[in-house]
């Protein structure tokens, strides 16, 4: 299951990361508007789009590589009426196209705000369609509330990681002030903490749903706590580590005893933790995809 679906696994993660980055690009100008930090805001938005666009292009290429007949990929949008996969493909294509247009407009110095918000809307619909298409299968572990929760929280978490990297990179080049860095890092920490709580709280509910489900659901549960128990522990631990380390970095900054650059190591460690957690979460998601079919 896992080996055959690697392109899809990476596709979902890259699209979710792009959604997180575009969300930050959409809300960041409002956050910095009051401080009169327009130049910093422009630079950070550009950097975020520079992460989102290649991620989306790579994701689309990976989704093509998954097909048995890639030349017929255009036909994948022929059943929008009933197929969530058709809808996901249409909106992921739109998401990519509009994000590219937004990046181009931003690069040319034109107003890109409307395009970024439209891109964000396409991204949200893409991830929602993605979650629905997995829910519409015959794999009980995918048919629960946990699928959309997992996908949208992954988008937010990967957005936090991307935002932290972009901030750190900009700080290193002297393109954002220490104050802006501290302010936005605090926002990322708060977002990461809330999302982490949602992720942790949803796990016992998910286990409860699976334990009351059909045999395939119980087999999935058995796998998650048996063969994949280490990966499950690693996923939860890496998530807590990622957000915890980012919180420590932000705390050290607020104490004014350390320079922003000195927390770089903590930010990298945090990003590694968050990315590891989300990759493991997706591996576990695919591993738990046990079908109710016979044979």
């Amino acid at each position: 299951m896992l080996r055959g679906e690697l392109p899809l696994l990476l596709f979902t993660l890259l699209v979710q990361m792009a959604l997180g980055a575009v969300l930050l690009a959409a809300v960041l100008p409002f956050r910095l508007a009051r401080r009169g930090a327009g130049a910093e805001s422009d630079l950070l938005v550009r950097r975020l789009l520079c992460w989102a666009v290649p991620a989306l292009v790579l994701a689309m290429a990976l989704s093509l590589s998954h097909l048995g007949t890639p030349g017929g990929a255009y036909r994948a949008i022929f059943n929008l009426k009933t197929s969530w996969l058709s809808r996901e493909i249409l909106f992921s294509g739109l998401f990519t196209l509009v994000a590219m247009l937004a990046a181009w407009a931003h690069w040319k110095g034109k107003s890109s705000r409307v395009l970024i918000w439209f891109s964000l809307l396409c991204g949200i619909v893409t991830v929602y369609s993605m979650a629905r298409l997995y829910q519409m299968t015959i794999k009980p572990a995918w048919m629960t509330f946990f699928t959309p929760v997992s996908f949208f929280t992954a988008a937010l978490m990967l957005g936090v990681a991307t935002g932290a990297l972009v901030l750190l990179g900009s700080l290193g080049r002297g393109q954002v002030s220490a104050e802006t860095f501290g302010l936005l890092l605090g926002d990322l920490v708060a977002t990461g903490a809330v999302v982490l709580v949602v992720q942790l709280v949803s796990v016992p509910f998910y286990v409860g749903v699976l334990s009351r489900g059909p045999r395939a659901a119980q087999a999935a549960l058995h796998l998650l706590f048996g063969q994949y128990g280490t990966a499950l522990g690693g996923r939860l631990g890496a998530g807590v580590l990622g957000v915890g380390v980012l919180t420590c970095g932000w705390y050290l900054l607020t104490r004014k005893e350390s320079k922003p650059v000195s927390v770089a190591g903590l930010v990298y460690l945090s990003v590694a933790g968050i990315v590891t957690a989300e990759v493991l979460a997706r591996v576990l998601f695919y591993a738990a995809g046990i079908s109710i079919s016979v044979g």
Binding site: N79, T82, S83, I138, R215, G289, S293, G295
Partner: protein, 204 residues
Amino acid sequence: MATQQLGFHVDMSVCLGCRTCTIACKDKNDLEVGQLYRKVIEVEGGDYTVTGKAVIPNVFAYWISISCNHCAEPRCLQNCPTGAITKREQDGVVTIDQDVCIGCRYCTWSCPYDAPQYNPAKGTTGKCNLCVDLIEKGREPACVAACPVRAIHVGPIAELKKQFGGTMQVKSLPDPALTKPNSLYTPHRDAVRGDASAAPTARR
């Protein structure tokens, strides 16, 4: 709603599990290794009782010959992004147009009966089409014609129901409410769905 929905009836009470139906289907459709449009699932289980020094076994085994059930509400059709999967108006047979399929394999995630089979060499997915080419010539599907004990029958599902009775409420098969399959089984005595005591193990 099909004018005259066609389907299969399988009499599990006489099926020997010889897999001749599987081979005939494989031959007719020229399938690659690992692809089965019709398969035979072996289900076995049981327990034992100890009376004094005697151990008395109480075991069972039965076979389920299964292919596409040409469901009334096929989830594969609903989920297929290209529209390659269609349900024929005249007989309700669910088919995959090989010229339209792009091999995304979403149908293989959607079918509770594991009917769609991906062919990596062709880059498309195929499945049982009830041998409509043979039926249109007045002949039987390959699996029906090959069965040595005449356990498989084909025809309008309403007529099969009148002739043989049967149900889809068979142990080890998914809940028929999910896709409303157009097949009928005369269950083996140990496959009648009720209060299942032992959890049977299934293998292809």
